[in-house]
C-alpha cells in the first residue's frame, strides 16, 4: 500500500484543481449559475424524494445547458 507521504502531492494537486473550479464557477454569469443550480437540483431531487422529501426542480424559461447558449 502506498504511504500517505507519497499521496500528499497528488492530493494537493486535487485540492488546487478543486479550488480553481470553484473560482471558475463563481465567475460565471448569474444566469449560468442558475442553470448550474438547476443541474444540481436534477441530480439531488431523486435522492431527496426517495427519502420522502418532496422537492420541485425549477423550470427555467431557457433550459439551455451551461456553455451551450
Amino acid at each position: 500500500m502506498e504511504r500517505m507521504d507519497n499521496l500528499r502531492p497528488e492530493i494537493e494537486r486535487l485540492i488546487v484543481a478543486k479550488n480553481q473550479r470553484r473560482r471558475k464557477l463563481a465567475a460565471l454569469s448569474f444566469a449560468d449559475k442558475v442553470r448550474v443550480v438547476v443541474r444540481m437540483q436534477q441530480m439531488v431531487a431523486p435522492v431527496l424524494r426517495a427519502r420522502g422529501r418532496p422537492v420541485r426542480v425549477w423550470a427555467l424559461d431557457n433550459s439551455d445547458p451551461v456553455g451551450h447558449k
Binding site: R22, R23, L25, A26, L28, F30, A31, K33, V34, V36, V37, M40, Q41, V44, V55, R56, V57, W58, A59, L60, D61, N62
Partner: protein
C-alpha cells in the same frame, strides 16, 4: 427564472409589494459559486395592512394570477418562491440598499453581499455559517461597509466569533 422575476416586477409596479430583492442561497449564488437550493428567497417590503397579515394581499394577488401556495412557498412560473417580509431594521436597510442588476433581459435586485453576510450572522444557523465562509472567500466584500452594517445592528461580536 426570468418570467418569475417579471411577475415580481409587475407586483412591485402595481404596488402589491413596495420593494423586493433576491436573498438567501440564490442571493449568495449571485456573488459566489452556485449553492444548491430549491426555493427562491425574496425579501419584501409590503404595504401596511389593517389586519396584521401583511402577506395576505400579496398571496391574493398571486392567486388571482393563477399562482398557488405550496407550503410556505408560492410557485411562480415553475419556481417555488418564499416571500420573507422585512421584519427588522437590518432587513429594511438591506432592501433599501439592494443592488440593481439584470437577469437575462429583466431588471431585478439582489441584496448586497455585505447584507447577506450580516443577515446570515443574525440568523445564526449552521448553514448561515457556511454562507458567511463562502461570501468571505469569494464575494469581494467591502470591509468598511460591512463593518458599519455589523456595528449598526449589533453583530460585531458574533462576526468576530464566526470569523476568527
Amino acid at each position: 427564472m426570468e418570467k418569475t422575476l417579471q411577475v415580481l416586477n409587475v407586483l412591485e409596479r402595481d404596488g402589491v409589494l413596495s420593494r423586493y430583492a433576491i436573498g438567501g442561497a440564490m442571493g449568495a449564488t449571485f456573488y459566489a459559486e452556485p449553492v444548491l437550493t430549491f426555493d427562491l428567497d425574496i425579501f419584501v417590503i409590503l404595504p401596511q395592512t389593517a389586519d396584521g397579515l401583511p402577506l395576505e394581499p400579496l398571496y391574493a394577488a398571486l392567486r388571482a394570477r393563477g399562482y398557488t401556495e405550496d407550503g410556505e412557498c408560492v410557485t411562480i412560473e415553475g419556481i417555488p418562491v418564499q416571500f420573507l417580509p422585512a421584519y427588522n431594521d437590518l432587513l429594511v436597510e438591506a432592501l433599501a440598499e439592494a443592488r440593481e442588476t439584470v437577469y437575462e433581459q429583466t431588471p431585478t435586485r439582489v441584496l448586497r453581499a455585505e447584507h447577506l453576510a450580516a443577515i446570515a450572522v443574525q440568523t445564526g444557523r449552521d448553514k448561515d455559517r457556511q454562507r458567511v465562509r463562502l461570501l468571505l472567500e469569494q464575494a469581494s466584500l467591502d470591509d468598511n461597509y460591512l463593518a458599519t452594517v455589523l456595528a449598526r445592528h449589533g453583530l460585531k461580536a458574533r462576526w468576530k466569533e464566526w470569523t476568527t
